[in-house]
Amino acid sequence: MNINNIKKQFPIFNNKVHNNDLVYLDSANSSQKPQMVVDRIYDFYTKEFSNVGRSVHYLAVAATNLYENTRSMMQKYINAKDPNEIVFTKGATEAINLVANTFGQKFLREGDEILLTELEHHSNYVPWHYLRKLKGIKINFAEINNDGEITLESIEKSITPKTKMIAITHLSNVTGAILPIKEITSLAHSKNIPILIDGCQGAPHLKLDMQDIDCDFYAISCHKMYGPTGLGVLYAKKKWLDTLPPYQGGGGMIREVKKEGISFGDLPNKYEAGTMATAQVIAFGESIKFLNQIGIQNIEKHESELTKYGEEVLRKNNSVKLVGNPKNKGSVLSFTLDGIHAHDIATILDEDGVAIRAGHHCCQILHDKLGLSATARASLGVYNTKDDLDKLNESINKCKKIFDR
């Protein structure tokens, strides 16, 4: 894999930021888009546009085929058993809301418990919090260890006879910890508890095999996978999609509508009410092609080497403190600098064209636990290079110079 060619596929890098080359280190927030994805959106709107699944004319049939083709591609990409186990949503947030809402409606009663972890992004906490209010359920949090990891033991300790769902992240967007999701799934199933994985940070970086992991639900954010915004994927085992009630009502998801009552459509339509993000779905097919062209194993290897290099460089820098030290770590480097707040770091780095994120990264519970109000975070994508990490380190040194005046 020639990394220079990969960067060339991303038109954003032709632009300067404050007269500097862009060093994009915010891919955990959202990834940049390859030319083929951008072109696909343009081509769809200029040559092929129609709504899907409704009309019988030429364009409608073609668009429907393209839309369903992405579903099949995604099924293969994550090795789901059935294309109907792929539900398109407006994002991973909606995917988790869909599960919390429908599962909560049907199966949860007062006193039932949901098990999350202290690593969770707000999008895998707030949807469950609603059920706390609506149904009187309780939310428990499996605790992290000193390295910012969640172990199988930590989950096991937190399961109670009342645990009705386990919902955990695949890869922490702050500490980078990769959770042993296959082992946790097997543990959950041994106690008859379904499990949802928040795969926002897992899907862009790690090989996925739903049948091997065996989880019940897996939520994916497409804009973090070199795809368009406004799109997510919920993988759910067919038995759940058949059992759970519909999420939103509207056109496209019904079979028969009478004044007396309504019957709902089959999968996957049951969960895709209204006109979906059609162009995004079709363009996301190109993101999957892009990932397949490089090969997810090559991406994993490249990013893992870069992460190790980044850790090395930042560890040598005495004023940098890395947040978390997980043994199995994804491409996230969160850090603090002595005496300089994360937002000041981000502003100073930005001046050099170095884009990072600063704040609590939608993980206030984790930051409270760590006793930090904010951290700076550099996160990697397929287009990053060692040079990017060297520039990050140079800019960090510049922060110190400015603040030590």
Binding site: H341, H343, D344, T347, G359, S373, F403
Partner: protein
Amino acid sequence: MDLKDLYQEIILDHGKNPRNLRKTENFNKDAKGHNPLCGDKVHIFLKIDENKNISDISFEGSGCAISMASASIMTDLMKEKKEKEVKELVEDFLQMIKESPEMKTKIINENEKTKLMSLSGVKQYPMRVKCATLAWHTLTSAMNNSQEETNTEKFD
């Protein structure tokens, strides 16, 4: 854009060694402010005497250099001011941060105005404006006895 405009020495000085970072004993007004996007937090304490003068003002909190410096400089300037003067100063400061090239008020002297103007560098950094204004909005809440926490996302 020049980072030295944003991080002037006076800001770094107040940011690193904030003045009045404590809790006023026997305060009779207070309010909390929060910038949810950054996590900046400030809690302002006021002691207002029977003549409606601020006899003491202090703050607790954590945040970036800009937000800490702003709270530090603001609390320094507000001591011994009358309630009415506080309102005028807050309005004038917010006006300056938003659009006005300078501060118009006659309540404070030129030297004090220069201190406040050191925060005007944020005008070039739209995402950082709320760091500079958090303490000021929170002071207004405290003066108005508002029970609701000031949230920068509610302001333009």
